[in-house]
């Protein structure tokens, strides 16, 4: 048997052993046995002395190639064993992924605040300011500056909690507008504002009445504001709050603050206008009051009604939320049952 045959034989035998090996130690033993100083291959190569100078390099390079091949087989086998070992280890670590996750107990914003937030964001985006004002108001701002003198029959529309003859719980957030109009500097640009907040009416609480509720009232005053602008703005509000397929329609109405005045209906978001219980079969739901600011209101605030004009509108987040989420009792908003509060997690 010449050296080549010997080497070939060692290789075949070793490859078999490597494949059979089941742990890194065995493989290491094989490696030492083969390639170590006293290893089989080294042993064989000692026989090279007896070869002719022509043959030596040929056998040498043959031996090297076998050594490489075996080295490769060893590291491959090692890798294989490692993969196997890891797989076994991970298998042991298997958990039941259907066990519940650890709850994250974050709180919820109140549903009314979610509605108001949505309205605020819409108007901020259109360049409106958000203006706050007192909840305990003067009759002067709550009524008189809004074209509602004492003894005006329209005061009956808003039963009022008085504190003294001149001081009251505001019945609307438009007194904030009266206050803002008085101080706004029109040389610095138009007035565009909304005023969200709590309002109070002298009412007995039941499913549809609450002595406390919320309002968002809006006002725009500039040189060229039209009722068409009002219509366009309210259409945007309706689409933002109730869905982009919504349409609006306006009906004549009366508010002392505005002339012309309108009630604004939005096409029913439940039935799309075909008629259902939510819209009382009409296809429309009343959601807003609006109109062009009455010249008396402008004059009282010291604004030249021949140059400036504008529109105003008011809407009720409570009513919005009731309609949108099907809440059938307005008191729910103020009783703060945790099961109620936690329902509205999709952020409006």
């Amino acid at each position: 048997m010449d050296l080549r045959e010997k080497l070939e034989e060692i290789k075949q035998k070793s490859l078999k052993n490597i494949q059979k090996a089941q742990d890194p130690n065995t493989i290491n033993d094989i490696r030492v046995e083969l390639l170590g100083k006293k290893g089989a291959i080294t042993e064989v190569l000692r026989g090279m002395r007896d070869l002719t100078p022509e043959e030596r390099p040929k056998v040498g390079s043959f031996a090297n190639s076998i050594r490489d091949e075996l080295n490769q087989a060893i590291s491959k086998r090692n890798e294989m064993l490692e993969i196997d070992r890891t797989a076994k280890k991970l298998e042991k670590e298997t958990i039941d992924v259907t066990l519940p996750g650890v709850p994250v107990n974050a709180g919820q914003p109140h549903i009314l605040m979610q509605v108001i937030d949505k309205i605020e964001k819409l108007f901020l985006g259109m360049g409106y300011e958000i203006v706050d004002g007192p909840e305990v108001e003067e009759d002067h701002y709550n009524f008189e500056m809004l074209n509602l003198p004492k003894d005006h029959p329209a005061r009956d529309m808003q039963d009022t909690f008085y504190i003294t003859q001149q001081i009251l719980m505001r019945t609307q957030t438009s007194p904030v507008q009266a206050r803002t109009m008085e101080v706004h500097d029109f040389s610095k640009g138009p007035l565009k504002m909304i005023s969200p907040g709590k309002v109070y009416r002298r009412d007995t609480d039941d499913a549809t009445h609450s002595h406390q509720f919320h309002q968002v009232e809006g006002l725009v005053i500039d040189k060229h504001i039209t009722m068409a602008d009002l219509k366009g703005t309210l259409e945007l509000v309706a689409k933002t709050l109730f869905g982009k397929e919504r349409e609006i329609r306006m009906r004549p109405s009366y508010f002392p603050f505005t002339e012309p005045s309108a009630e604004v209906d939005v096409s029913c978001f439940k039935c799309g206008g075909e008629g259902c219980a939510v819209c009382k079969q009409s296809g429309w739901i009343e959601v807003l009051g609006a109109g062009m600011v009455h010249p008396n209101v402008l004059k009282m605030a010291g604004i030249d009604a021949d140059i400036y004009g504008g529109f105003a509108f008011g809407l009720g987040p409570d009513r919005f939320a009731m309609l949108k989420y099907g809440v059938d009792d307005i008191r729910e908003f103020y009783l703060n049952d945790i099961r109620f509060l936690r329902q509205f997690s999709q952020k409006g």
Binding site: G107, M113, F161, Q212, K231, S261, P295, Y334, R339
Partner: protein
Amino acid sequence: MKVSTKWLNEYVPVIDLDRSVLAEKIARTAVEVDDDYRLDEGLKKVVVGHVLSMEPHPDSDHLNICQVDVGEAEPYQIVCGAPNINSNMNVIVALPNSWIGNHTKIKKSKMRGIVSMGMICSLQELGFSDSVVPKKYADGIYILPSDAVPGQTIFSYLGMDENIIDIDITPNRADLLSMRGVANEIGAIYNHNVKLPHPVISETTEDEINNYLTKVSAPANLAPTYMMRIIKDVKIKESPLWLQARLWNAGIRPLNNVVDVTNYILLDYGQPLHSFDYNKMGSKQIIVRLANEGEELVTLDGEKRLLKDTDIVVTNGDKPVALAGVMGGLNTEIDSNSTLIALESAVFNPSKIRKTSRRENLHSEASMRFERGINVATVGEALDAAAQMIAELGDGQVVANAIKVNEISTNDRIVEITTTKINATLGTNLTENVIKDIFERLGFGVQLESGTFKVAVPVRRWDIEVAADLIEEVARLYGYDNLPTTLPTGPTTPGHYTDKQRLIRQTCALMESAGLSQAISYGLTTKAKAQRFTLEKAKTTELDFPMSTEHTTVRMNLVSGLLDDIAYNAAHKNNDVALYEQGRVFFRDDQNDRPREVEHLAGAITGLFNQATWHDSKTVVDFYLTKGIVDYLFKELGLENVKYVATNAHEEMHPGRTADIYIGGELVGFIGEVHPNILKEYHLGKTYVFELDLQKLIDMDKKEQIYQPISKYPKVTRDIAMAVDKSISNAAIIDCIKQNGGKYLTDVTLFDVYEGEHVAKSVKSLAYKLIFNNPEATLKDAEVTEAFNEVVEELKKKFKIAIR
């Protein structure tokens, strides 16, 4: 106002219009429509019956067996229990298989063994409201006139064969509180001519009003116009059925021919009238004046009214006989023996009427119209129409002449408007012709002079005063739907929250991320609850005339409201609740009626903060958990130098488990456990609360957000465990460590607290981790040891600690 379409059709053609189409048109062009309905809708086979004979039911003490002619070959036998039934009268018969009111089907039946072919009906059984059924028939069946024809349908007799449109009138459109006003409006909407009849009065020449009234006076400020007529030899009786039907279809109960006429004219013209029994007046004088304070009058409804000196009264020169414009006096009421009628038609001061009717809670058809305004052009015409009608229906005579005190102008009001202004306001391009046409449809006079309309508005539309009012008329008749849809143009403005608004919203978001849900409680509470948990000494702000005892006083704290919420939850078996509220509280001082409004933040937590899960054990709410939430808020808002100082000064709080919170030396709120007495009152378990003056937090300097380089050098930690007297606070020890830890001490954390059997009763064991770092170099062990020893020495000296 319930509008009879048959009546309306006498003035303007509407009878061919589908009622829902008409209702829709009114709603889209004028005022809201509450309802539209047909009175005989769903009713069937109800006819006139003539009771031929009647005998008592053998097995009943109140039923009668009637033989009734219903227009068939044979009479029907019908059992009837009405007390006012009698033979020879015409009645309402619901035949077998008929439908009457309330979706009720009437079948042939047996009543105590006797066959009944249907039922004899009351008006209520046909669906009439109790409030419109004539008193005489309130407790029995309705009796039809003797000329009613048996077998004929009942609906035309009772005026039920028509459509009613119930319109809801806004305060400015009181002109629509009359049939004539509605006719004018419909004429304008449909561009139809309106034909209104005008009365022709025939007076007796033999008698004159001055024979009855020698003095009539009324100050113009109380009654801008006041008119009166006398009708004599009147026979009081039931009104003809057509007139009664007009009234009950409008929701008014028929009474007698005189009162019914005044109500009919009220509906027709919108002019309230009042009829006095002249013979009960006791004088020949009519003096309108303000009541004397404390004067008394029993009104027609039998109520004794104690009058005030702001009420207008009609007197006989001595005593009040009517609460003017609101309700007549019982002492001059028309009764079945009245023959001589004094009929009043006037305009009364609206704000005085309003004051009286509100105070007395007496809102009559008359007062409602006087308050909102009436057509001053037809005060006299309505009087004439009523006098003539009373004479006709009561076989009497109108005495010659009317008395008229005070003249009120009935001239058109001229309002100017330009086409440009109209289009600039509406965003339209309407032509002069379109606008002119609208004004003319409304019955307004129009003159156009170089682009300016001079519009002559008749006094029946007293709501139109200024140009803006005309713009509304144009807009609504042109159609709101036809207006274009645009968005405001003009200079753009930046829209952003103010710093305060932003911080308030951030605070809310922080509370939510800390696990508290947002509550919105009532701003009005009881006086007791308003005054608890307050951060400031202040006066209460109370309602003058509250609606309920639960909501009388404006709140001065938020915790009370949250406790109400938690109590509501507890009552509904929600025992684990974590709520916060952000809102205003109201502090008033002696000098002001209006309180100062301060933004506050409060929280209330009870029960478990976290439920036990398969993974973690439960977390029970306690002081430190609550404090952690407040700390988190301060940290996130960039507020530093926070101090918690134990206090027993809050009456509503646990004296040993409450702290006032100071930031930079300023008191900003408190935190702690609610006092057991209060918890007992609310039926609650341990509840932890905090109340913070959010305005102060907003106003305070916030920590600058500056990047802190992260040290490249390793930190060194040293632990210290000590036994210390229980009275020594953590805050004091931390202060001491920080003061003596040297410049490389960067942090101190408490990591263990122990009290119990392994230490003496009077002491507690505390363990702290001290962290040292030098950002510029690696700390030497000796440096740390020196600093640490310094700390230990000082703690020993100051607090007599024992190192463990």
